[in-house]
């Protein structure tokens, strides 16, 4: 599904990603963990095509197709979804209107007809229920006046509607209390399918108690230094990141 090779990227001339490799198979859930400043969020933004993140080397393929050249909206239409760490407020823009426009843009790219109002409403209600979100959310402006938890759940709700091939969740667990975390996890789990892959970017092992990953990668200084099964996350929880860095230096020496 996703293939990243030797990815190098800088922000304002500072190199953050230094030759990152990542292979995510169809239907797999991969967790990217790592200390602050290791490049986790940069990876998420580079995947989505945010301006200001300069790719200086390597390649990214989504289903064998180049993902680096297309504009952010084209990537979204190809089936990439980024759940933001800090979802953005759009004052005056109705949530339902926004979602319908987004869904239709994606459907159009897939060669599907525009969704009619009735089917769309039914679809939304169905997805809302999964995330235990209130109907009133649909009448409000995008993320305006939402609590932190509502914003994160709204991201997952959008993901559920847009049905991406690859979902990248950028610290979706940060700032969530345990109940909200469970709801978000339920939402993500409900979306797991053999033809959808998920990349979870997270600080803490806690999210992985609810979303069981196929692989766990540890990102340090812009490179993946260690990969393993879910037990790696538990090891990290226990020992912190220090031992991997120390290990690495030992190997280098």
């Amino acid at each position: 599904m996703l293939s990243v090779k030797g990815l190098k990227a800088s922000v304002e001339g500072r190199e953050i990603l230094r030759g990152l490799d990542l292979e995510v198979g169809a239907g797999e859930v991969h967790a990217i963990m790592g200390p602050n400043g290791s490049g986790k969020s940069t990876l998420a933004h580079v995947l989505a095509g945010r301006e200001g993140y300069e790719v200086t080397g390597g390649r990214i393929l989504l289903e064998g197709e180049d993902l680096l050249d297309p504009a952010p909206e084209e990537r979204a239409r190809k089936g990439l979804f980024l759940a933001f760490q800090y979802p953005v407020e759009l004052p005056g823009v109705n949530n339902t209107y926004f979602l319908k426009a987004a869904l239709n843009a994606v459907r159009k790219a897939r060669g599907e007809p525009e969704i009619d109002a009735v089917s769309f409403l039914r679809l939304m209600r169905e997805k809302l229920k999964v995330l235990h979100l209130d109907d009133s959310l649909l009448k409000r402006a995008v993320n305006v006046g939402f609590s932190g938890g509502e914003k994160k759940r709204n991201e997952i709700f959008q993901m559920a509607l847009l049905e991406p091939k690859l979902a990248v969740l950028d610290e979706t667990d940060s700032g969530l209390d345990i109940d909200a975390l469970r709801l978000v996890a339920d939402g993500v789990n409900a979306l797991r399918s053999p033809d959808r892959s998920v990349v979870l970017v997270t600080h803490y092992q806690r999210l992985l108690d609810y979303i069981e990953p196929d692989r766990v990668h540890v990102l340090v200084h812009g490179r993946i230094l260690r990969s393993g099964g879910k037990e790696l996350a538990l090891e990290l929880e226990e020992k912190g990141y220090g031992w991997i860095e120390a290990d690495q230096e030992g190997e280098a020496a």
């Binding site: 989505a48 095509g49 945010r50 301006e51 504009a71 952010p72 909206e73 990537r75 979204a76 239409r77 979804f81 980024l82 933001f84 979802p87 953005v88 407020e89 759009l90 004052p91 005056g92 823009v93 209107y97 926004f98 426009a101 987004a102 843009a105 994606v106 790219a109 402006a141 959008q158 847009l162």
Partner: protein
């Protein structure tokens, strides 16, 4: 006049319907003196009171100077180089659409305007443009049933001299300001509306139905009087950009609301803003004022200003009657080289008066704009209330927005609130939209329309939809 009886009949028929007031008009040579004013009045067949009023205004204007306080820049205007009375069409305008700025034509295409209408808007000489006469006739019959007068002001001067004499200049006196004085002396034509006591005007009144008079626009004069307990909604302008060979536009609009009367005045102004360097754009220097003369009366201004090279305009409310209400909702867009100094004045005189100001300014390109608003609470205006909200949105790094609020309170029971924000169209907002599959243009349009929502909500439904579309087209390509 033609000797052909058929042609003569046609001419008369049109005249009776009141849609063409000058038939065989010609152009006065450029220049302005008392004789010019007399000549205009004579050609319009005006009664003496009208000529006297025009002359008073002219004499007063001679002693005045053009205001310099506005935050706009343009070369001095030579008032002796302007022709103050011109034939309605075909003079100096483009001969065909081939001669019209291609950028303008592109905009027409995007707004989906039919080709014949494009010609009219671009100022190309055409004969019958619309079937508006028959449409309008139906409207007039319906209005006449309700007793509503809706006609050209030159017609009203002749047919309803008492009403005109009583109300004209009663809100914006001929001495008011430089442009208003000039307008009073030389106004060409405009609209007159009178809604009798207790009548709810049965339809939205719109200048659109009188589009074949659009060429009277240089010094337009509008007077709307809503008698006790009546109500009326008036729409001015249209969303398609209009070209005009006259660069200076100095209109005056006066609204009078008597006891319990409501007037809602909506404008979509989209005059030609000039080419990329700002050449040939319209200077729009307008005086608009409403007088809530009666108790519990209400006047509300809603404007969407996207056109003109320079806009200088402050639709205002004088809240004279006790418990009267004034409102001002505005969206102003400046892009390219456009400049706008716009806002409102709310003058609270009566007791328990309240006013609301919502101003949304959008600047892109090298556009410059200023919000200038005055809230004045007079000494006897017990319990006056004002809420002002004034937001600016900047697109790109070369535009500018300024806010000049003036608040004068002379009564201790008054409550006034002023909120102002300036924000840049967020790169993060735009990226958020794009990451959901929306194109950059759709994203900008969505963010901008969201920003303006409170104002669009005040527009009549159909107008609001058009205004949204207009805004999207105006700002196309403004980002990145």
């Amino acid at each position: 006049m033609s000797a052909d009886p058929l042609a003569e009949n046609l001419v008369k028929a049109e005249y009776e319907q009141g849609f063409v007031t000058e038939i065989d008009s010609d152009t006065l040579p450029p220049g302005l003196d008392e004789d010019t004013v007399r000549a205009i009045s004579k050609r319009k067949g005006e009664p003496d009171f009208m000529l006297d009023w025009r002359l008073k205004a002219y004499r007063h204007w001679l002693g005045m100077e053009a205001p310099k306080w506005a935050s706009v820049h343009y070369p001095a205007i030579d008032y002796q180089a302007i022709s103050y009375f011109s034939a309605p069409k075909g003079r100096g305008g483009p001969k065909s659409l081939d001669e019209v700025d291609p950028a303008l034509l592109e905009t027409y295409e995007k707004l989906g305007i039919p080709i014949e209408e494009q010609k009219a808007l671009a100022g190309v000489a055409v004969d019958a443009v619309f079937d508006s006469v028959s449409v309008a006739t139906t409207f007039r019959e319906k209005l006449a049933e309700a007793g509503v007068v809706f006609c050209a002001i030159s017609e009203a001067v002749r047919d309803y001299p008492d009403l005109v004499q009583k109300y004209l200049g009663s809100v914006v006196p001929h001495t008011d300001n430089f442009y208003a004085a000039l307008n009073s002396a030389v106004f060409s034509d405009g609209t007159f509306v009178y809604v009798p006591k207790g009548v709810r005007c049965p339809m939205e009144l719109s200048t659109y139905f009188r589009i074949n008079e659009a060429k009277t626009g240089q010094f337009e004069r509008t007077l709307i009087v809503a008698d006790e307990g009546s109500s009326v909604s008036y729409l001015e302008g249209c969303t398609a950009p209009m070209r005009d060979e006259n660069q200076l536009h100095a209109a005056v609009v006066e609204l009078v609301a008597l006891d319990d009367a409501h007037i809602k005045y909506s404008t979509v102004q989209n005059w030609y803003p000039g080419d990329e360097e700002g050449r040939g754009g319209i200077y729009n220097f307008v005086t608009k004022r409403g007088d809530c003369r009666g108790a519990r009366s209400k006047i509300s201004w809603t404007q969407v200003e996207t056109g003109s090279a320079i806009t200088w305009k402050y639709p205002s409310c004088i809240l004279r009657g006790d418990d009267s209400v004034g409102a001002f909702y505005s969206v102003a867009v400046t892009r390219g080289m456009q400049q706008a100094d716009t806002g409102t004045k709310m003058i609270h005189i009566g007791r328990n008066t309240s006013s609301t100001i919502v101003s949304k300014g959008i600047s892109a390109g090298q556009g410059r704009q200023a919000y200038r608003g005055l809230v004045r609470i007079a000494q006897r205006a017990e319990n006056a209330r004002n809420h002002t909200q004034c937001d600016s949105l900047l697109i790109g790094g070369q535009c500018a927005a300024h806010t000049f609020p003036y608040i004068e309170v002379k009564n201790p029971t008054a409550k006034t609130e002023h909120e102002a924000t300036t924000s840049k169209i967020g790169e993060d907002q735009l990226f958020y939209c794009r990451s959901r599959g929306l194109s950059e243009e759709d994203g900008v349009s969505m963010i901008v329309n969201g920003f303006c929502k409170e104002v669009f909500n005040e527009l009549p439904m159909e107008f609001a939809v058009e205004a949204q579309k207009l805004l999207s087209v105006s700002l196309e390509g403004a980002v990145g």
